[in-house]
């Protein structure tokens, strides 16, 4: 879990340097869906997943590079997204979502 959390200084865009805070975005889990199912991030951002369903879910990247524990009803989990990823709930494999990290610096 520690490796992906390491910040890479050259990722910083001028905007991020100004705010000095990692932006946070939210994905709601409700009605057995990730809402929004595709989340666009301008640069790396912390994403909070909030389970509003009555059943337990999890959030795991399809390449197994990151994943949450089981998230009971009304609980949340967050992760610093540095790369685009497709993810699913392995308890309900029809639940899929996508994180698209758009880097301002296209050379990167």
């Amino acid at each position: 879990m520690a490796v992906p959390l390491l910040l890479d200084a050259c990722h910083s865009t001028p905007q991020q340097a100004l705010s000095r805070e990692t932006p946070t975005d939210t994905v709601w889990i409700r009605g057995l869906k990730f809402v929004p199912d595709t989340l666009y991030l301008s640069g790396e951002s912390r994403v909070v997943f909030i389970n509003q369903d009555m059943v337990v879910h999890n959030v795991k990247s399809l390449d197994s590079s990151w994943g949450s524990p089981n998230l009971p009803s009304d609980s949340s989990w967050s992760f610093l997204m540095q790369q685009s990823a497709a993810y699913q709930c392995t308890l309900h494999p029809t639940m899929r979502g996508w994180i698209i990290v758009q880097h301002a610096d296209s050379k990167h």
């Binding site: 057995l32 869906k33 369903d53 009555m54 059943v55 308890l91 309900h92 494999p93 029809t94």
Partner: protein, 180 residues
């Protein structure tokens, strides 16, 4: 495919959905305490099937699915129980709940008689059919007939859970060559 898979147990497997299909067609008038009883019983029945699968199957997809069934249907029962307590409603046993239990006993017996891949296929096919029948009943009987708004709301929240279970079961059935 259906005939081939269930050659020996065609009757009990077919019969197992009759009560719910009949319910959906006949639309009996159910009171809220009766609806609560049917809802809890329908979830208990699927937990019973999941327990058999966890005892008998070694297939990772089947085991993962059965664990989800056990966990999710327990969550629904917990929510339903909390709601009826809050509303001071006592679930009332009725003909639909009774026939669900009777058919569960028959289907469980048929499932227990199978082993290996034949068991996995029979279990997942039953899950597809059972969820189809329950969705039909919840959508066309329980939700329209529920008088209390919170009970109706809970049933509406359960619907996407059941629909996801159905899609999940259908995907496994296809993978195992157990489609109708």
């Amino acid at each position: 495919m259906f005939t081939k898979l269930f050659a020996g147990i065609a009757m009990p497997m077919l019969l197992s959905f009759t009560p719910l299909l009949a319910v959906a067609q006949q639309k009996p008038q159910l009171s809220d305490p009766e609806i609560a009883s049917v809802a809890v019983t329908a979830n208990q029945v699927d937990i019973a099937y999941a327990r058999i699968a966890l005892q008998k199957s070694h297939d990772p997809d089947i085991r993962n699915f059965a664990q989800t069934m056990q966990r999710d249907h327990q969550s629904v029962i917990k929510q339903a129980t909390a709601l009826v307590q809050k509303l001071h409603v006592t679930p009332k046993d009725n003909a639909v709940s009774q026939s669900l239990r009777t058919q569960e006993a028959k289907t469980s017996k048929a499932l227990k008689a199978k082993t290996g891949k034949a068991f996995d296929q029979a279990y997942i096919q039953n899950e597809v059919s059972y969820h189809e029948a329950v969705i039909n009943t919840v959508e066309n009987v329980l939700i329209p007939e529920a008088q209390n708004g919170e009970l109706k709301g809970l049933l509406q929240q359960v619907l996407p859970v059941l629909k996801e279970h159905l899609q999940h079961a259908q995907a496994i059935a296809e993978k195992l060559g157990a489609t109708k």
